[in-house]
Symmetry: C2
Subunit: 197 residues, 2 copies
């Protein structure tokens, strides 16, 4: 696959004009997508696209590192520096030998996410699968909430993953539980590239 | 706002290469996102982006016409003919005087959607808010299911909206209920452009 032609002139100008006309965030919200159903990361991706459409900047930060390049990564470069898409930490696959190692890896990932949140450079910051990390106590939820409190007020944050901790649900502005009613994997249908990842 | 620079050479070539390498759909699925929580249309938008990322073609068909241009529409043209984004019917805002008029408008919208589904031109077809239309019986659910049965087998379909009818849930491969746990509108926070629409 050839490289994406990053930001040719015409697109750069168009994106810059979107940016100039971007609405100010009146009050940054904390959104939580949780539950055992499909659609959590997918909805966060939809939020990202909508935000890019009004000229906002988006940081999509992944706490779980997939074994291959996700489908959506192929179009990220079309948006130049407007869309930061990043797997956090180094080789952070949650297959460590001890809780200590998991916690150390989580801390490292969290420092990156924290810097992005506090920088105020992105109107939307997605913390993909952070609920999973929190529910296993790899990170203390109080620390994450403290940073959410400190963040610049124009920053929307989206937290995805199963088992969002109660304290995060209490702190959030919007919480949706994606509840599994029916899932094709249960009928033996395998995940498909382009649809599921 | 200036026009989007539709498909300059470098991007056209990149998109064509994605298309050449696009995975074949092994079995097209029917996905349903329903429930009273936020994230249904948003998740469908995420599906669209992921599909575009592997070179598939996407038709995003809206059964409810918003009063203004959605944020995501600003980036649709970046994908050229790969992404069809369309409000169905003419002035189809569900503010008619009689059930007859609603049904006639729904039929008109459905004919457009049906043609797109049966053409096989798009690997992913989103029928945004169709559940709403079905739940009000503006369209008979059996007719929609019959078309889903007839569609080419390489077509994934995503149906969004509250109150998905039981027959559609029974027919679908994947069903997620987006359940509202907490919603900022309940606390007096207004919908924001870029985030909610």
């Amino acid at each position: 696959m050839s490289e994406v032609p990053v930001a040719p002139e015409a697109y750069r100008a168009y994106l810059q004009e979107l940016r100039r006309n971007a609405p100010k965030v009146t009050r940054g919200l904390v959104l939580v997508y949780t539950g055992d159903g499909k659609g959590k990361t997918t909805a966060a991706l939809g939020i990202a696209v909508r935000a890019l459409g009004v000229g906002w900047r988006v940081a999509f930060l992944q706490f779980i590192k997939g074994p291959w390049k996700s489908s959506e990564e192929h179009i990220v470069p079309l948006f130049g520096e407007r869309w930061l898409f990043r797997k956090l930490g180094r080789g952070f696959t949650w297959e460590h030998d001890s809780l200590d190692e998991d916690q150390a890896a989580a801390q490292e990932a969290w420092q990156e996410a924290r810097n992005v949140l506090l920088s105020g450079d992105y109107e939307v910051v997605v913390l993909d699968e952070i609920n999973y990390v929190l529910s296993y106590r790899f990170l203390p939820v109080e620390m994450v909430i403290e940073t959410l409190r400190q963040r610049p007020s124009h920053v929307h944050v989206v937290c995805t993953g199963r088992n969002a901790p109660e304290a995060l649900v209490a702190f959030a502005d919007l919480v949706t539980e994606m509840r599994k009613v029916k899932h094709p994997f249960d009928q033996g249908v395998l995940a498909q590239r382009g649809l599921d990842f």
